[in-house]
Amino acid sequence: MKLPKVVSPDEWKAAHARLLAKEKAATRDRDALAAERRRQPMVRIHKEYVFEGPNGEVSLLDLFEGRRQLIVYHFMFAPGVDGWPEAGCPGCSMVADQVANLAHLHARDTSFVFLSRGPYRNLERYRERMGWDIPRPAPASTTTWAPPRNTARLMA
């Protein structure tokens, strides 16, 4: 394995400054992209979706929990997925491990839910095993689509 060049502290500083300029440019570019994203057109949802949560059946509107924005992650927990029927997709689980504390999103009028196909009791069991019980007030984190076909229509 070929390691990077070893240099003096001054040379390191100079190299770091050059990289930092590029990093800052990338941050500004990311801000500009987010600004453009905020101005993207939107599409109205007419379909009445039904979900299953800890408190029984809820609608897409219910998932907002009164907030203005809703982020939905389609979590792969379904037949044919690695771990079925006891566990969810390893990649999705890695994503879930990295989801920030939702209190901060809530403070900005934004709800967050995971949606999966699997039976609700299996999702709950897996959620407990993974320890994903940081402040995610019911009826939140794991919910299943019902009837299942709705998922394809909304997300595809």
Binding site: V43, R68, A107, R108, L154
Partner: protein, 86 residues
Amino acid sequence: MGATTEHGETHGLSVFFRDGSIIYRTYFTGGRGVETLGPVWTFLDLTPLGRQEDWEDSAEGYPQTPRYQWWRRHDEYEEAARESRR
């Protein structure tokens, strides 16, 4: 595309916006698009309202408050709301 189809499951993240009881879908990302997600800021950057901070280039009339100042310890948000009602 974050869906259950006849070809199997894929992951994905959608953003919805609510105006009263009217719901809009505003955004979707899948594949490697989710790699950059996790921190609060990365999620808010995907939403129509953004971080809702005053430095952001957002459309006219969007809610914005001074940068950084809305941040709280995660168990203190409700308390902050109670304080402000007093």
